[in-house]
Symmetry: D2
Subunit: 310 residues, 4 copies
């Protein structure tokens, strides 16, 4: 068996590494990325089996990955990259057939995810969409959550063992495309909640309340949410939060802005109304466009509110 | 000892009843409300001690309450009623002195709460602000949460035994006025979260996802909040939610609109920014102004979104 | 005849000066302000008639103004000051009667304006509300617009000659309180339009378009508004705009924030929905709370948008 | 000379008719639309020259149009249709060369417009983007406004005579793509202004003011805009407005929703902030998704606000 991996960026590289470590006794590997430094480094680091010089191969195109591997994972930044890798010249599609399982872990819009699944299934391949949450930290620790859309629970079961090497929670979300729906919905709610928590903590502090005391009350009341309990955006409230370490690391502004864009476009496409979602999108866009904030964790929404009123 | 209670409305009446039941062996009562039917009914129901015809008295004014009782609880709709009951003609203030403990359980703005406390303390009385959450259900069951602001933890300790007859969680929030801060902050976060959860559930359902499955994923992910877990606004997701029983009962639109108005005004006063809070205020106002929605639980935000797109 | 003027602040001082200059041959004056430097300066500047040492008098209280003058103009910052000057101890009310015409030029909420009118009319006085637009520049030049609410067109006609000395457009808005309604409505629409124009100009410029060309197109199309034509917030588009002179002078952020607060509160009181109005309120609040922007003209909304994306 | 026209929908058909009538003495025509009933009707109506049976021809593909005509106008619903007509199989591109002038009057995103221009210019053709405003009424009357982006003013001058047969104002907006920028910016400002005017008129009416009086005051003050003056959304204020005739005809909700989607996506792409724009987008989306409002003029935002508060 040979396993293929396309897209070894900030998320993909640690995911591929965990997948390699989990299956190195059972499978060989083939990888592809447009950044050749990345792939040659991966080759150098992992192709250490003296008896098998082909343990890891670097492909010249996605097509080559499809020709050599039967299980393929892709992790790409956005819909247009998925289109190019799957359907472009020398793309995956040309090489896929009945023996393939293809997992796309990219976060893209639902329509592209269902289109990929449909086309691949017409060629006989198994296709699942499995976007992740958990960030680069989760990718490195192998503790990602995968939200999985698949044609059937059988397909889900076939994909699961591979996902389990890269993640901790493998969640079945229904039919193809639903992995994206779950991801987009969760992150829209998260994005709104984080700004709501930031507004609330900032208001309370300015009204004279101790932030830890306020957070404690919220977290035992009906205002509590993941953003107030686990990831409180006010510095000092939680010992190990992004906020307390200067909003470094974590989930960056441009990523949240991207996910909210997917949410707002999905809302327009389905004639849904997301007023708070649309406003939150603008606020993350604004922060992502600001030199001081673009590299900070998304919980720096608190810092934005607090500092703009000085 | 005689205990006084001013304001026997939807919330005040069950609170007064629980307080009576908790202290009837130790104290007599005196009550006041502008609605005389209410007070005479209370009198009829509770003045049943043949040996003590004065067990419960109905006062002619707040001042009479202050003259006869040493522990006084007030539960009033808004700041202007507090102003009138405390500082108006024949108001409480004229009769208060060093022996009094006064608990105001009304939800009002912080500045009025601190003004009440200051004036009462100048007369030597103990004053605490203790707004509640839990609704009429919690008031009847005696399971309210009290968010308490007081000059000192000593004052808090003096008030606590009385509050415990009416509520389950008695939370210390710091100095006078902080009870209001905690209440306003919690309810702003709650109000935003409920609309955010409604937008998210509606979006997911329109994208083709099963609502129970979606709620389950959110509730084990970073999008989870009290509104998604305990009070999910999508009918059928939770067996005993307001949504599942047609949005009857619960926490009404006008109450949420009122609390968000307090929040937005507090934000302007403290130069805080609450964009999501201000937008949520408008949405609850709109629903509270609509004949079909004004009597529904605030989680009917979901119904509003779902039906407006048909 | 003696004319009274209460409130000689940034707006009131030039208004009182114009009123004095317009009527100095026909009337004496009496003025009141809590700031005694202001009143003694006015006295020094205008009490120059050797034959009439009492040409201008400084009153010790609003009551004294009411006792001596028959025509009274008040120009105060907010509702609470109106309450105090009219209804407080030694306030105007105690001295008013059938011979008085009282013009309140303050911008306050409708309910306070109608209450003032009602109480004054019960004492027999004529009362009109006449909030202004035009800023300190218009106040100095005597080119203000007065939006006038009065019991009858007769009352309006009585007040008009006095207003014409201070302003250029004297607009009849209907019954008492309607001057406030017109002012609040106009300024809400203005406040939203200015941010909308700023968002539009910023978007167009970032999409690569020349700002003058874009403004020209908008101004001959359906997007045109006063903010794009007369007061374009993009520096350089108009030669004499606040934007072109660094956003100095003009209509300050805190004033727009105040007017929008009146609008949002009026909306809640009347169960109207003002989503864009509420969001605009938050944005002006945010700018008014920021050290760099609080002293700038409200068209600096453009600067806020442009700089936050750098 | 033969003139080609692709896309004879609600807008395209009257535009093509006016172009035909303007040039029938100088040129022959060739048309294409996927709806064959439309093209055969056009043929029947206009191919009436007994001496020239080929006066109007119906093409089998865009490619055939490109092969036969030297001046080509396209009027298509959205970017994906432009992509297909220009770059798809048997598309325009294959047949274009140095002798062609191509005018795309579709409203699409800037990036697609600049891509079309670039590719066409590489083949030697002249390409201009010229989206319109004025609606189907303007299309029929030949009074449209064209906002034109072109490589040079020379190209603009070459295109102008053709546009003048279909419109009244032919506005030069700068380089290729800028026609789209102007259209998107104008309509975003228009869309926001209409909701702002609706909120304002609704607020004023609910505060007790006569709507005509209020509109008159706004229109002579700083709140005035095209939406308040020319297209006031409150029924009865203007005799001939869409509002007064039941919001029939005019500029439909889905069209405004589409233009605001282009605006919001352009804002994200250029890191611009459009908070009011994003909120307005959601509001038009909501109305466009509602059975009662989807077919109404966009000024029915007033009706939405007024009726939702009953």
């Amino acid at each position: 068996m040979r396993i293929g991996f396309v897209g070894l960026g900030n998320m993909g590289l640690p995911m591929a590494t965990n997948l390699f470590n989990g299956f190195k006794n059972e499978a060989d590997f083939i990888i592809y990325d447009i950044n050749q430094t990345t792939t040659s480094n991966f080759l150098k680091d992992h192709n250490t089996d003296a008896n098998n010089k082909d343990k890891v191969k670097v492909a010249k195109s996605p097509l080559e990955v499809a020709k050599e591997a039967t299980v393929i994972v892709t992790m790409l930044p956005a819909s247009q990259h998925v289109e190019s890798v799957y359907f472009g010249k020398d793309g995956l599609l040309e090489g896929l057939g009945e023996n393939h399982l293809v997992v796309d872990a990219s976060t893209i819009d639902q329509s592209m995810a269902t289109r990929v699944a449909k086309v691949l299934q017409e060629k006989g391949a198994k296709a699942v969409d499995a976007p992740v949450s958990g960030g680069t930290g989760g990718a490195q620790a192998g503790t990602l959550t995968f939200m999985v859309g698949s044609r059937s629970t059988e397909d889900f079961d076939v994909a699961k063992p591979y996902l389990e090497k890269m993640g901790k929670n493998i969640v079945y979300c229904g039919t193809n495309g639903n992995g994206q729906v779950a991801k987009i919905c969760n992150n829209m709610l998260l994005g709104i909640s984080m700004i709501a928590t930031s507004e609330t903590m900032n208001l309370g502090v300015r009204m004279g309340m101790d932030p830890k005391l306020l957070a404690g009350i919220l977290n035992t009341s009906s205002g509590r949410c993941w953003s107030s309990e686990v990831y409180n955006p006010c510095p000092g409230v939680l010992e190990n939060s992004a906020a307390t370490r200067g909003y470094t690391g974590g989930f960056g502004m441009p990523l949240m802005a991207k996910d909210l864009r997917l949410a707002v476009n999905a809302a327009v496409d389905t004639k849904s109304t997301v007023m708070l979602g649309a406003l939150a999108q603008q606020l993350y866009n604004q922060m992502a466009a600001n030199k001081e904030f673009e590299h900070l964790d998304f919980s720096a929404a608190y810092k934005w509110l607090a500092e703009n009123s000085k």
